[in-house]
Amino acid sequence: MLKINDLHASIDGKKILNGINLEVKAGEVHAIMGPNGSGKSTLASVLAGREDYEVTNGEVVFEGEELLELAPEERAAKGIFLAFQYPVEIPGVTTINFLKTAVNEIRKYNGEAPLDAAQFLKMVREKAKLVKMNDSLLKRALNEGFSGGEKKRNEIFQMAVLEPKLSILDETDSGLDIDALRIVAEGVNTLRSPDKSTIVVTHYQRLLDYIVPDYVHVLYKGRIVKSGTKELALELEEKGYDWIKAEVEAAHA
């Protein structure tokens, strides 16, 4: 589904990603872990198409197509979804109106007829129930005045509505207490399916207790320096990142 080859990226002339290689197949869940400043969020942003970053080398192939040439909205239409670490508050745009526009823009891009108001509402209500999202939030301005937990749940709700092939969760656990975390994780697990893939970007292992990954990768200084299964995450939880840093420095010495 997704193949990243030797990806280099920088922001304001500063190199952040230094040759990422990663393959994600349909149905898989990959966790990207690593210490602060290792480039985890940059990788998520580059995949979603944030324009602040400059890709200096490498390629990303999604479903057989070169991804980096596409605008963010085209990537979304082809099935990529980024759950933001800091969802943006947008006063004056209601969540429901925003989602209707998004759904129909994506349908238009893919040559499908727009949903009418009744079809759309029915679909949205079902999805809201699925991720236990309170209906009353739909009528409010997008994320405006939402609690941290409500914002993150809104991200997962949008994911449910847009049905992406590849979801990238960028530090979805940050700022959540354990109850909110569990609700968000349940939402993600409900949406898992054999033809959908997920990349979970996280600093801590605790989210992975709930969203169990098939593979765990450790990012350090803009490269994947270690890959393994879910046991690797437990090891990191126990020992921290220092031993990995030491391994990397030793290899370079």
Partner: protein
């Protein structure tokens, strides 16, 4: 197009003098005396230049260098009006074309015991004492050249009187239509709205143009808001690309009265709005909303004053602007809190989005506070669109143009949603949607 400039000031003064010869018995009337004094002031003041601090960013040189017809005939039909008017507006419709009242295009539906609506000339004949009690008493002809000029030539416009305790259910809609299909046109409407104690009324002034020739409107509205009266006042500007507008609305509020206003300027070559509110009573409350959306080479300037003269009153102001092309915008918001005006609450905010590198916005909040126990706040922001919000929308599959218009519409809706007359709100939302498309 002729670019020859003329001396409009001298021409107007000469016009006044020649008309004066035809004035007989009227010459001693208070109305005429006020006009004559105003002309003398205009003669001294002359048109403002950018050296005048109040006109620093709004240069009127080009507007006042043109030979307008101040009593231009028109060929506006009911059909023309229907085509450009705000759809579905019901109530009292008062239509002025090139500054003159058009009875055939007007409808008064509210009962006469609730509201008197008369063209100014007729009001002067039938109720001279009522008119003279207020005319020229509120607006400032001493320092403001355009107000002095308007006062000097007063005679066209509308007189509204709402007696004490009466509620006017049907809104009052004034259309000022400039028909410039054959020549350059100027008009100087002068309105007087007197709303007595505990009375309630909704008044809208709407400005539209037909035709491609140049026009200048210099309008003054004086509004008296009696004790415990409630007035809603909307100003809607959707004129042509060659239309200039100088407008002053002077409001004086008495104890426990409410004045609620929105000024929406969507199109016009040059617009200067002065909204001056004197809170001349205790426990008054006023709201001032504004939205301007210039494009191309349009220039829109809003000057507002909330003058707190007595204790315990509140003013709330929110103006928003979207600037595109090579347009320029000006916001100057004054809050005066006089020494007596303890326990004043005064809030002001002006937010602008500049969508083009060639557009310019000048903002100047100006607070002068002479009382010590007051709550005042002000803030202005001018910036580009929130990039993070744009990326957020695009990352959900919304195309860049669609995301931009969604964000801009939301920005404008903040002000538009304050308009409490639904057909007007829908009309404005429609124009904004078109502009954003």
């Amino acid at each position: 197009m002729s670019t020859e400039t003329i001396d409009l000031k001298s021409k107007l003064i000469a016009d006044f003098r020649s008309q004066e010869k035809a004035v007989n018995g009227e010459a001693q009337s208070p109305f005429y005396q006020t006009r004559r004094q105003a002309l003398a002031r205009f003669e001294d003041l002359g048109f403002p230049t950018p050296k005048n601090e109040e006109w620093k960013y709004s240069n009127v040189r080009n507007l006042v260098g043109r030979d307008y017809n101040f009593s231009a005939p028109h060929t506006l039909t009911q059909e023309d009006l229907n085509r450009i008017a705000i759809p579905n507006v019901s109530g009292n419709i008062l239509c002025f074309v090139n500054g003159k009242y058009e009875a055939s295009l007007s409808t008064i539906v509210s009962p006469a015991d609730r509201i008197t609506i008369l063209p100014m000339r007729q009001a002067l004949e039938e109720k001279p004492d009522e008119v003279n009690a207020w005319f020229g008493k509120m607006a400032d002809s001493q320092q403001e050249a355009f107000t002095a000029l308007n006062t000097a030539f007063a005679g066209d416009g509308l007189y509204i009187h709402v007696p004490a305790g009466k509620t006017v259910e049907q809104p009052v809609m004034l259309y000022f239509i400039t028909d410039t299909r054959t020549e350059d046109v100027a008009s100087q409407p002068r309105n007087l709205f007197v709303v007595e104690e505990r009375a309630e009324v909704k008044i809208t002034e709407s400005f539209l143009t037909l035709g491609e020739q140049h026009s200048l409107t210099n309008i003054v509205s004086e509004i008296h808001v009696g004790k415990e009266a409630h007035v809603e006042y909307y100003k809607v500007q959707n004129e042509g690309g060659t239309a200039s507008h100088i407008g002053t609305t002077q409001v004086v509020m008495e104890d426990r009265s409410h004045f609620y206003s929105a000024t929406v300027s969507l199109n016009g070559a040059f617009i200067r709005n002065n909204l001056n509110i004197a809170l001349d009573g205790e426990y008054c409350e006023t709201f001032m909303y504004g939205l301007y959306f210039p494009d191309g080479k349009q220039h829109i300037d809003n000057h507002t004053i909330a003058d707190h003269r007595k204790p315990n009153s509140q003013s709330n102001e929110l103006y928003k602007g979207v600037l595109r092309g090579k347009s320029t915008g000006v916001f100057n918001g004054k809050i005066f809190v006089r020494q007596d005006a303890q326990k004043t609450n005064a809030f002001q905010s002006c937010k602008n989005v500049v969508l083009s590198p060639e557009a310019t916005m000048n903002t100047k909040p100006q607070l002068e506070i002479f009382a010590d126990d007051v709550k005042c706040s002000h803030g202005t922001t001018t910036g580009q669109l929130d990039k993070e919000a744009l990326f957020y929308l695009r990352s959900r599959g919304i195309s860049k143009p669609e995301a931009l218009s969604l964000l801009m519409f939301a920005f404008c809706e903040d002000v538009i949603s304050q308009i409490r007359i639904e057909p007007i709100r829908e009309y404005l939302e429609g124009i904004i949607t078109q502009k954003l498309a």
